[in-house]
């Protein structure tokens, strides 16, 4: 029997899920390998058990916590999809402010009607087996993981910085063009897509393990931006990962 897979979204822009619907060329091949049993963006169905559950979005409220526990119970393999699910993503910027202030800004006087939690990675609440990083995650990356799971292999892990792929493509480094790029400490696997098109890396795939944060801030400020700006850039996607 083909593996039963499902997709769920939590706090996110749903961009990752939409990215999957753009698979046009590969969709038929994918459906040869798996049965999609739940996918709010494209259908509505509900099953008791999933071989693979894909989770998009971060966990930001008590009801999210309840729901993710329920999905985890019904899933053999659980995969976090995209930056929000993997580490909290841009949502986690709210964690840099007192939670009451955040609620008041968003809901005003009605703030007591809406329970909220700091924006968390899915892995902060339940066990996550695999992850697909990026904002949004890329189709290639998702497909690599899916094929590996279908074949019963370990999906690729990315432990090298974006600079590696950037260098292998012989791009002119954006630091030589007067830009400040987060490539050196950002987890690769994106084929250095942004720098290749002249856009500096904003760190959407998360920070590498054991980064040299002070060294990176020094690199950034010595290339012309203020310490404050450098920290803001680093936090954009990684408020939950970097302590500044």
């Amino acid at each position: 029997m083909k593996p039963q897979v499902a997709f769920f979204d939590f706090t996110s822009c749903e961009g990752c899920q939409l990215n999957k619907l753009n698979f046009e060329n590969d969709l038929l091949d994918i459906l040869k390998h798996v049965d999609i049993v739940e996918f709010r963006e494209a259908m509505d169905d509900k099953a008791d058990h999933y071989d693979i559950a894909f989770i998009e979005g971060s966990i930001t409220s008590p009801s999210c916590v309840e729901r993710i526990h329920d999905i985890r119970r019904r899933s053999d393999i659980l995969v976090a999809l995209g930056s929000c699910a993997v580490n909290g993503g841009v949502n986690a910027m709210k964690n840099l402010h007192p939670i009451d202030e955040v609620r008041e800004t968003v809901y005003g006087d009605d703030k007591y009607l809406f329970a909220t939690l700091p924006a968390m990675a899915v892995s902060s609440v339940v066990k996550v087996d695999y992850e697909v990083r990026g904002c949004p995650m890329t189709q290639q990356d998702f497909l690599k993981l899916l094929i590996a799971l279908v074949l019963g292999k370990q999906p690729p892990k990315y432990g090298s910085p974006v600079c590696v792929e950037c260098k292998l493509k012989e791009n002119e480094c954006l630091y030589n063009r007067g830009m400040v790029c987060l490539g050196p400490i950002t987890r690769g696997g994106c084929d250095a897509v942004c720098p290749s098109f002249g856009q500096f890396c904003t760190g959407c795939r998360g920070i590498l393990d054991n980064p040299n944060i002070d060294g990176m801030l020094e690199v950034m400020t010595s290339h012309g931006i203020s310490l404050d700006e450098a920290k803001k850039r680093m936090l954009l996607y990684n408020s939950n990962e970097v302590q500044l």
Partner: protein, 344 residues
């Protein structure tokens, strides 16, 4: 050794002439301020004055990413990629770059030869060119002068804006047959091209300095500034480490095995099964990189495995300088020696 004069304005004609001997590969402008070796489409695009290319010429023999074989899971079969031997002319190569190819030859061809490298290396011809060292070149300190002609078939030495063309091999001679824009001349020595960056000791004293450098404080200082991007090793012309990956297509039936350049500066490089990592800290890795250039291979071959191109320094976002590290080690060694002597 014959020497001819050649006008700068006639260089494109020479390039066009050389195309009879195969694909010509030469430096081209890239991005705002950079250069890269590319196949020549139009000889007037070739850049004669350049500091260094982003990636070394190595990329033409050991490609950054290379398919090694295709396989089919369905048929349980595989097919190795056969590299074709095609004549190529490498034009406008600096002396340190040529020296790096000779060192790579040693790394890739001694013992059991790496067959893809070997085939790409076959029927290559090289035309060298002199250069004006910038603030990063230091090849003289590792024994390579601007006019070092070893390995070249032809060499263009710039004299007062035009060139003197040296014929160094029979292949070089053959490549000039039928090219009439050159005139026999007397070789001239060019004065006034100087290396701005230097290592303070002759390179044959460096293995001794490195013998005592393993526990130096210099490594911690370098590691505190290093952000671990791998630029130094990925752009180095004498580094040759690679990784091998399998990719399966979305059909889950066909796939391929690829190899791509790897770097000992990356934290994952020395990670082995079970999660153990035998060079876990940046300090271990920065040290290892320099020991690979000035100690481990040098002890066996008697030559530094750095050619002084300056790429690792010029392309380091943190501004870490290879020759500065070596000079700091020298200074530290001098101090230690002084203390040892005084105590006696």
């Amino acid at each position: 050794m014959e020497c001819f004069s050649l006008l700068r304005s006639d260089v494109p004609a020479l390039i066009d002439h050389l195309r009879d001997f195969g694909e010509v590969i030469a430096p081209h402008g890239k991005g705002d301020v950079s250069y890269s070796f590319e196949v020549v489409r139009d000889s007037s695009d070739v850049v004669l004055d350049y500091n260094r290319t982003l990636l070394p010429l190595k990329k033409m023999f050991l490609p950054p990413v290379e398919k090694l074989m295709g396989f089919s899971l369905k048929n349980e079969s595989f097919e190795q990629v056969e590299v074709a031997i095609a004549p190529r002319v490498f034009f406008g190569v600096h002396s340190y770059e040529m020296q790096s190819i000779l060192r790579l030859d040693h790394s890739m061809l001694s013992g059991s030869a790496e067959s893809n490298y070997f085939k790409r290396r076959q029927s290559s011809r090289f035309l060298g060119i002199s250069f004006e060292p910038d603030e990063f070149h230091f090849s003289e300190s590792v024994g390579i002068v601007i006019e070092e002609m070893e390995g070249f078939d032809l060499f263009l030495n710039e004299v007062d804006g035009d060139f003197q063309l040296y014929v160094l091999t029979d292949n070089g001679q053959e490549m000039l047959n039928g090219f009439d824009k050159i005139n026999l001349t007397e070789p001239e020595i060019v004065e006034g091209r100087h290396f701005k960056k230097k290592i303070r000791y002759h390179y044959n004293r460096l293995p001794r300095v490195f013998q005592y450098a393993y526990h130096s404080d210099v490594w911690a200082d370098v590691a505190s500034r290093c952000v671990g991007c791998g630029a130094c090793t990925l752009t180095c012309p004498t580094c040759f480490c690679f990784d091998v990956h399998d990719h399966v297509e979305v059909t889950a039936e066909d796939g391929m095995r690829q190899r791509s350049w790897d770097s000992c500066m990356l934290s994952t490089f020395a990670e082995v099964a079970g999660g153990e990592n035998f060079r876990e800290k940046t300090i271990n890795r920065t040290r290892h990189r320099l020991f690979r250039k000035f100690k481990y291979i040098t002890d066996e071959e008697g030559l530094p495995w750095c050619v002084g191109c300056g790429r690792c320094t010029a392309f380091c976002p943190a501004g870490i300088s290879m020759p500065d590290i070596v000079n700091e080690l020298i200074q530290e060694d001098e101090k230690a020696q002084y203390h040892r002597t005084v105590r006696v």
